[in-house]
Symmetry: C2
């Protein structure tokens, strides 16, 4: 078996597992690296190496990867600011880099990931995106469930797409909910699931048996597409249904479809559309 | 006593009462007109005329105002789409205008108010803003409570101002909450109070006794300033406090300070700043 030349830096959530499965399907060897304190879901087989590392020792960890023959790194899942830094564990080189990372956290999460990617690349590794290693996770334009969006749905999707563009231009969020032309919620720090729960709580629910309104997701306008792409999965479908929405749309090739078969089956079961829409631009 | 030449079209909330009080203080006679189904707070004296009218008969109602000598109309408070239209009550002229109003509701609430204002003006009345009749409700730049915003507060306010500008450019909302550079929430249909309750529910609260983060409010970018200006009042202060925020800022001359004495006293009691900040542009 070939030595892996690719490492997944695994943030929280299902994404590292999905990516690992997709890579295995194409025969690409890889190892998975988990920053201590995050909770990624990991593949349930033993053939893929998993290593934990400490934020406080990131620099020497990435150096060691480079020495072991890793050439490419892909960052997937949710990353958050470490809750505390253990000074006993903190090495000098990481301490030197910390202000760049922590400073950029003030500007929004995309900026901080980009700062981290820069540091990794300075250490001789190439940071690549999901598109480069598992493009099949990023759906092409089209419908991914049986329901077809109505004219009203399409115009809600279009309005939502403009709203997401506006909030993304100020690095705030990657999603919005629009129903009947009215914006019910825009995404901010708490994320998509929290936004959908809020819509379920606050909206005047459409009459029983009917659904209206859409969730739209797209990458931020000047997002570094190598990391933090929006993702749609079974949970998104369930929460959008609980919020009374008619469907989910996203920018084609700009969002990940997770657990694709289950997600599509759930959307069909609940009578919702799934639409990868060509980009606004 | 002079016949009134000014009518307040009263939406829901405290604003019609505040405006009526401010007008009385300057001796300007006026009457208050309430669309049936909204719940404005009304002045507690009997010297000001109050009339209810039906949405279904708006056109003839505005015509009758014009005939009675009303020259100016000011629209304040929250207006929402009527929940149902009573066809028995619907007159032909209002029916003819309804598509313009209801159609524009699809574009966002500012658009619909503007359509309504257009119709009123076609009937020979002038639609004016609060600024024209009670400019003292729109604070000039300055601090309106004892607490002074820190450097961090100021940079949060600036980031929030850019975010509000972005969401307002797509006619979504007039407010945002930012803490430590991170956007915790942006305003959409449910409004400012609902947004602040959401922040109180979802944020990691700052340590007891400390506050951090700001609420910022500003009119929408291309808002018709004759109507639907953002407003800050005692409820805003209480809800911002419950969300752990350090203070409230707004665009100077672009937002109404309601119940000014009580609002300022509450902010002082809770140790929060109130800052009318010069506009970004």
């Amino acid at each position: 078996m070939a030595e892996p030349t690719l490492a997944i830096i695994a943030g929280a959530g299902v994404l590292p597992r999905m990516l690992s499965q997709a890579l295995r399907a194409t025969g690409r060897e890889h190892l998975i690296c988990c920053p201590h304190g995050l909770e990624p879901e990991l593949p349930d087989n033993e053939s893929t190496e998993v290593e934990e590392f400490f934020f406080e020792r990131s620099i020497s960890f990435f150096r060691s990867l480079e020495k072991r023959g890793i050439r490419q790194v892909v960052m997937v899942g949710k990353f958050h600011r470490p809750r505390s830094i253990n000074f006993m564990r903190l090495e000098g080189s990481t301490l030197m880099a910390a202000p760049r990372i922590l400073g950029s956290l003030r500007r929004g999460d995309d900026a901080s990931l980009r700062a981290l990617a820069e540091i990794i690349e300075e250490l001789g590794l190439e940071v690549v995106g999901v598109e480069a290693v598992a493009p099949n996770l990023l759906p092409e334009p089209g419908l991914y469930a049986s329901r077809v969006p109505s004219e009203t749905d399409r115009s809600d999707v279009e309005r939502a797409a403009y709203i997401v563009e506006a909030i993304s231009a100020v690095d705030v969020g990657q999603g919005a909910v629009v129903a009947g032309g009215l914006c019910l919620a825009t995404e901010s720090l708490p994320g998509t699931d929290a936004m959908l729960e809020w819509v379920a709580q606050t909206r005047d629910q459409p009459p029983a048996g009917t659904r209206s309104g859409v969730l739209y997701k797209a990458p931020k306008l000047d997002q570094d597409r190598r990391m933090d792409l929006p993702a749609i999965g079974p949970t998104t479908v369930a929460k959008a249904a609980a919020a009374g929405l008619a469907g989910i749309a996203w920018e084609a090739r700009g969002a990940l479809l997770l657990d694709a078969e289950r997600t599509m089956a759930e959307a069909d079961r609940l009578g919702m559309f799934l639409w990868a829409r060509p980009s606004l631009r």
